[in-house]
Assembly symmetry: C2
Homo-oligomer: 116 residues x 2
DNA sequence: CGGGATCCTTACTGATACTG
DNA sequence: CAGTATCAGTAAGGATCCCG
């Protein structure tokens, strides 16, 4: 992150970038959903429903749709009986892996800090 | 991230860790607020209000309070006329720097991808 | 300047039931 | 199984005014 002297002027660009990320990732569930898919590589609707504690199918459906629109995940209908749908991260979605890992580590560290 | 064969069992622990992080960081503004303070080291209320586009003073006030409760930031009242209040990251809050940087980079990359 | 209080609108969300 | 539809409650957020 070697940041030049432009620091003196401001960080509008960085702030904008963070906002851009959050526009897509914010919301109560998105990160958790992406994590689920990321950790398992491929994941079905009902599996994600179990991974993400507390989410309703209505919300999951909606969030998955948004993630698909933003090209972070791919949706594949499998020809099973009954039907099943598989989600996986796109190449672009995979670039979030670092962030997921950071959040996982930070969550663990934070929990230790709180509990003791 | 060398993950052992425990993969086969599941990733409940990691999922939980991510959720723990998000419980504290989610919300439309928190990450942006932390970024502002992080990038400038010390930042006053009115400055953050300008950095975080679109936030209202009511929301900023509320979010800052929550971040303070979670020990991510410190609040210092400066003895100026009129009064001013400075916020800075705690040691614990500083551990979020990696995540902020990742989000910044990802935001820039994502924008390039979308615009072309 | 840094908020708090009030009011009001919209977005988010869960529960439940239903369909291909 | 993987959603969709409807209903209704809660919470998030904005605008405005006020105060030390």
């Amino acid at each position: 992150m070697s940041i030049p002297e432009a620091c003196l002027i401001g960080h509008k660009k960085e702030m904008r970038a963070v906002q851009d990320s959050m526009d897509i990732l914010s919301g109560k569930w998105k990160i958790a959903i992406i994590s689920s898919i990321c950790y398992y590589n491929k994941r079905r609707f009902s599996d994600i429903l179990k991974d993400v504690e507390g989410i309703s199918n209505r919300m999951l459906s909606k969030e998955l749709k948004e993630l698909e629109i933003n090209k972070l995940i791919n949706r594949t209908v499998l020809d099973t009986q009954p039907i099943s749908v598989q989600y996986e991260l796109t190449e672009h979605g995979l670039t979030l892996k670092t962030i997921i890992n950071n959040l996982t580590e930070w969550g663990i560290a934070h929990r230790k800090k709180i509990i003791g």
